[in-house]
Symmetry: C2
Subunit: 385 residues, 2 copies
Amino acid sequence: MLYADYNGSVPLLPAVRDYLRRRLDSELFANPNAIHSVGQRLMQGLERARRIVAEAVGCHPDQVLFNSGASEGISTVLYSVLEFSPAKKKVIITSPIEHPAVAKALAYYEREKGYLVKRVHVDGAGRVDVDHLRLLLERHSEELALVAIMAANNETGVLSPYNQIGRACAEARVPFFSDTTQLIGKDAFNFEASGMDYAVCSGHKLGALTGTGFLVAKDPTTLQPLIFGSSQERGLRGGTQNYLGIETVAVAMEDFSTHLDGLKQLRRARLDFEKAIRRQHPKSVIIAEAADRLPGTTLIGYPGLHGQAVQIELESQDIFVTTSAACTDNQPETSEVLRALGVSDDLGRSVVRISFGHRQGEAEYARVLSALSSAYNKLTRIRSY
Amino acid sequence: MLYADYNGSVPLLPAVRDYLRRRLDSELFANPNAIHSVGQRLMQGLERARRIVAEAVGCHPDQVLFNSGASEGISTVLYSVLEFSPAKKKVIITSPIEHPAVAKALAYYEREKGYLVKRVHVDGAGRVDVDHLRLLLERHSEELALVAIMAANNETGVLSPYNQIGRACAEARVPFFSDTTQLIGKDAFNFEASGMDYAVCSGHKLGALTGTGFLVAKDPTTLQPLIFGSSQERGLRGGTQNYLGIETVAVAMEDFSTHLDGLKQLRRARLDFEKAIRRQHPKSVIIAEAADRLPGTTLIGYPGLHGQAVQIELESQDIFVTTSAACTDNQPETSEVLRALGVSDDLGRSVVRISFGHRQGEAEYARVLSALSSAYNKLTRIRSY
């Protein structure tokens, strides 16, 4: 089978599987907070993992907080900032293309906590309009609680100019949270250089175990515990640490960091693939083609066809893709993200997403291209009857 | 090595290790919400796990919500009930022996949200005084938001009369949340018969993967999402489901449910062990000896000795125990729980906890007894110099 849904979830990396096979034979299972040496060794492993993660994302180990994944990280950041913000700071700036984990949380703070949510403009390729952001920052300068703009879009792969956003937020002295769920482990990233105050990561988007992840905070003292407990994670995240998951996060981050050259090859292979698609399937549209995107994400539309029909054709050839984000997959409609880009329903309903990681490249794209071509030919023939 | 800290964390069960070894060779890794067949198969596995868990704990599958573990479950229940409670319902009844995950969360609601926290009496063996509870229920009948009393204490293993508490709460029409973290997977349990409105579980206390767990709610519509996201777990818990962890929770629960007879043997072996301890170590004290306790938990005190010295002696014989709960382990003081039982500092500082699960018994206790005897003889001899 060829799995091509890395934005949905990254299968356990070979390095993680090897690690776990060895790990299952060991006796090192205990509570890492225990006083005995088994617990202490697990705690040392956990802190080693924190240093590996910190080095890989460009921050200090003290700025890394382990948790159950990006959704928890997002809810923790929004809770910490918005539940404890001064009364006059009631404006949030966000984008219209956020993941539901951010969008639904912000809708809650708007509905229940009196926040006003302002959306920065994005262009037809899904790129955030930084001039408009500066205008909003100026207009609401006294009332700003938070800027929440994602770093890489899960559906289109479009990268936001987060460095510029970071600088603009720093100048305006407003905290900048960026949903980096699709960025970390899919493209090069340096937290310190990004200007972000908060970033998040899910282990399963790295090829580590599911149910793991971390949050990076420039100043961890601004965080509040969403999950109460003892002194784990310096009192900021209760619950026995998921030491096994954390170990695999470190393994996956190391694998990624030592194969950054794979990203260049991936990006080149993707661009060649997209050129071939446009050449071989005249009616195809590469969504956000002009934008700077993640190395391994392509969202292709075939106006007039149904994305799910294409997906099923690919699956019959043992290739697994989705029609949009996993979380909104079951809606046979144009996604909110594509609507924000001004995509028509005819195009929006027709998309399939092909997404890979740092260990895929030419060979995988060649297989997808061939399968897509036969799907395209079959489905357009059916339509022309 | 002999690991005897099952209340701290249960090492991966042999059945779970076998499952994972096979699982690592499979190709089934994806987002369980994805439209493709890999995602769908994972989702089917997840729902099968929910049915297995429901059957094992005596509830309906719809009442089971998967999450990252008991601490998250506790914070979710308290947030759902206390953040959205009517203004006049401002009294919480709890016990003085709760785990920090409950105690610290309640302290937050008391400090920040205007709640009044009342503590039910416990006797010298840590048993909840149900008559006092009834008195409190009557006295505050109009203002009660919640009763939060644990089912089994992590340090002493003492079981609370949760069935009686459940009945009293039902009569008083106040929701009853019981921290069942140490009960589920350590002793027989039936949610429906318990009279609880909410119960919680951590996978790592079952011998499943770390960072997993579930919450059981009599009426899940009373829950609010603590972690925002898409429609995962019916919109009540955002984030890609930890399907691998959830699969291992099902494996561990099945292993436990099919070896319930192991609990009888464990309890008998523990009682024999405690008798031998009292006989062979005249100065020893079994904390809460008179109370009904978890099958495999013993907290032994040696007044005059230091618990950590005993722990280190055992460790030199490759036996791993703790001096109290993992989360408070590093405090060389009498724990809050033991203080609530009226335990003196001389005794409180001297305790070691031996805890096992449904797959241990006579053989393990024999090894601990022999090691404890040599530690006892050595340390009392040192003292008498």
